[in-house]
C-alpha cells in the first residue's frame, strides 16, 4: 500500500510511547485500519485537535513498510459529533458502538460491504447525537450494527426448515444459528431463548425502517425485555465476550433511571445458554 487518501472515522485512540498515538480507523473502502500518528500528543500543530474519538476525518496515510505500522500523515476534520462530547449518556452509547465496530469490523473486505458499514457508522453516530438514548433505541441500534457487520439474524422463518414461525405464545430462538425455530425443529436443543413472534416482528421493523423514523417504533416492557435479551445474546455470541463499554453504558442508563437490562428481571430463558 502506497499513499492512501480517504475518509475515516476514529474508532479508538490509544496513547503510544511518549508522544505518539495509535488510532483504529474505519475506512469506507477497506474496513478497519490501524495507523500510528507520530508526535500526535506533543505537536498540537500537526494534527491540530483532529484526532478525537468519533471524529469523521479526511486522512492521508502512508502505507506500512515491512514490520512498521501504517502512518497517518495528515488529517482534516470533516465533522465531529459534538453532542456526544457533552452528554455522558450519548458519549457512552457512542463508545459502545465504536467498540462493537472496532471488535467486529474486518480489516479489508468486499468494497460495497465496507462502504455500507462506513455509512452505517456515520448515520448511527448522527442518530445518537440527535436524541437522548433510551432502551428501545439502544436495542435497535445494536441490531442494526450487527446487520451492518454482516451478522443480520433471521427474524421471521425457522432457521432449519425455512417455514415462517407463527403463533401467539412463546417461540424459541437459537442464538448460535441466528434465528427462530418452529415447533417441529425446536425439539430438545440447547441454547434456546424464549421469544414471542410479536417481538421478532418489532425487531424486524427496527431493521427495515428508515433510521430517521425509528423513534416511532415502540415496544411494551415485556417485548422490550425479550428484545434486549435476544440482541444482547446475539451480540455476545458474535463478539465472544462482553464489551468493556457495556458496563459503563449500563451504569449511566441505571443512574439516569433507565434499567439497562429489564430482561434480567424476567425469566425468559427456557434453556440457559452456557
Amino acid at each position: 500500500m502506497a499513499t492512501l487518501r480517504s475518509e475515516a472515522l476514529i474508532l479508538r485512540s490509544v496513547d503510544f510511547g511518549e508522544s505518539d498515538r495509535i488510532l483504529h480507523l474505519l475506512l469506507p473502502d477497506q474496513g478497519r485500519l490501524t495507523v500510528i500518528a507520530k508526535g500526535a500528543r506533543r505537536s498540537l500543530k500537526r494534527f491540530s485537535g483532529t484526532l478525537d474519538l468519533f471524529n469523521h476525518l479526511s486522512v492521508q496515510v502512508e502505507g506500512r513498510r515491512r514490520n512498521s505500522m501504517a502512518r497517518l500523515e495528515q488529517a482534516r476534520l470533516i465533522r465531529g459529533f459534538a453532542p456526544l462530547r457533552v452528554d455522558p449518556m450519548r458519549f457512552a452509547l457512542g463508545c459502545y458502538l465504536l467498540e462493537l465496530l472496532d471488535r467486529l469490523a474486518p480489516e479489508g473486505g468486499v468494497r460495497a460491504d465496507m462502504q455500507q458499514l462506513f455509512s452505517f457508522a456515520l448515520d448511527a453516530l448522527q442518530w445518537v447525537a440527535a436524541r437522548p438514548p433510551d432502551l428501545t433505541q439502544r436495542t435497535i441500534l445494536e441490531l442494526r450494527a450487527l446487520d451492518a457487520l454482516g451478522l443480520r439474524p433471521e427474524l421471521r422463518d425457522c432457521v432449519r426448515c425455512k417455514r415462517e414461525v407463527v403463533g401467539e405464545g412463546e417461540q424459541v430462538f437459537h442464538v448460535a444459528e441466528g434465528g427462530p425455530l418452529c415447533g417441529t425443529c425446536a425439539v430438545s436443543l440447547e441454547g434456546l431463548l424464549s421469544v414471542h413472534v410479536g417481538t421478532l416482528r418489532a425487531l424486524q421493523q427496527g431493521l427495515s425502517l428508515d433510521l430517521g423514523v425509528i423513534d416511532r417504533l415502540s415496544m411494551g416492557p415485556s417485548a422490550l425485555a425479550e428484545a434486549r435479551r435476544l440482541v444482547t445474546r446475539l451480540q455476545h455470541f458474535h463478539v465472544g465476550m462482553t464489551l468493556q463499554s457495556e458496563r459503563f453504558l449500563d451504569r449511566l442508563f441505571r443512574e439516569s433511571g433507565i434499567s439497562p437490562s429489564p430482561a434480567e428481571t424476567l425469566s425468559s430463558d427456557r434453556f440457559p445458554v452456557a
Binding site: D52, L84, R85, V86, F91, D102
Partner: protein, 198 residues
C-alpha cells in the same frame, strides 16, 4: 559492539524510558561505567527512593513526599476554589502557569469506556465527598479538552449540580483533542482565565 550481562541489563532498563532508544541507552550505560562511584551511587539512590517516598496526597491525590501536600496545606490559597484535573502532570502544568490560586483534585484519568474506565475507576466519589464537605464554592473542571475529558467534565457537572456550587469548565484556549501536559504555559494560563460556567 560486544558487552557484558550487567551492561545489557542496564541498557534494557534504560530503553524503556520515554525518548530513549537503543543507541542513547548504550551511550548512557557506558558513560555510567566510566563515571565516579559516588555519582552512580547517588543516581541509584535517587531512583530507589523515588517509589518509596512518593505517596498520594490524601486530599488532592497529587504525588507528594508528605501527605497532605504543600498545596493542600498552603493557607494563602483560596479554600473555596477547587480545580479538577485528570493527572498530576496536568496539575503541574496549571501550577506552572501561576494563574490559579485555589486547590486541586486529581481524578486519575478521564472516562475511557473501551478500556473499562468509568466513575468507579476514577476518584469521583472522593470528589463528591469533598464538595459535600461544604467549604468548596466553585469547582473548575479542567479535564483535557478532548472527547473523553469533555464527557468526564459534563458527567461531573451533572453529579455536582445539586450541591449548589458554581461550576466552570476551562476555556478552549487550546485545540480540541490536545493534551494539557504538552501545552505551553501561556495557553494553559488562558484556559484558566477564560473558564466558563456550565
Amino acid at each position: 559492539m560486544r558487552s557484558s550481562p550487567p551492561i545489557d541489563r542496564l541498557v534494557e532498563s534504560l530503553k524503556r524510558l520515554p525518548g530513549i532508544g537503543e543507541k542513547t541507552a548504550t551511550r548512557l550505560a557506558f558513560y555510567l561505567v566510566g563515571a565516579a562511584d559516588n555519582q552512580v551511587q547517588a543516581l541509584a539512590n535517587a531512583i530507589g527512593r523515588l517509589k518509596q517516598e512518593i505517596v498520594l496526597c490524601e486530599r488532592c491525590f497529587d504525588l507528594t513526599d508528605h501527605s497532605p501536600c504543600q498545596i493542600c496545606l498552603d493557607p494563602k490559597r483560596e479554600p473555596g476554589l477547587l480545580c479538577v484535573v485528570e493527572e498530576p502532570a496536568d496539575l503541574a502544568a496549571i501550577e506552572k502557569s501561576a494563574s490559579f490560586r485555589g486547590h486541586y483534585h486529581v481524578l486519575g484519568g478521564a472516562f475511557a469506556p473501551i478500556d473499562g474506565v468509568g466513575p468507579d475507576e476514577l476518584r469521583v466519589r472522593e470528589l463528591l465527598e469533598r464538595v459535600r464537605g461544604g467549604e468548596i464554592q466553585e469547582v473548575v473542571l479542567a479535564t483535557n479538552p478532548n472527547t473523553e475529558g469533555d464527557a468526564t467534565a459534563h458527567y461531573l457537572a451533572d453529579q455536582l449540580r445539586e450541591s449548589g456550587v458554581k461550576l466552570s469548565r476551562i476555556a478552549y484556549g487550546m485545540p480540541l483533542g490536545g493534551d494539557l501536559e504538552y501545552a505551553d504555559h501561556v495557553t494553559v494560563g488562558l484556559c484558566i482565565e477564560n473558564r466558563r460556567g456550565l
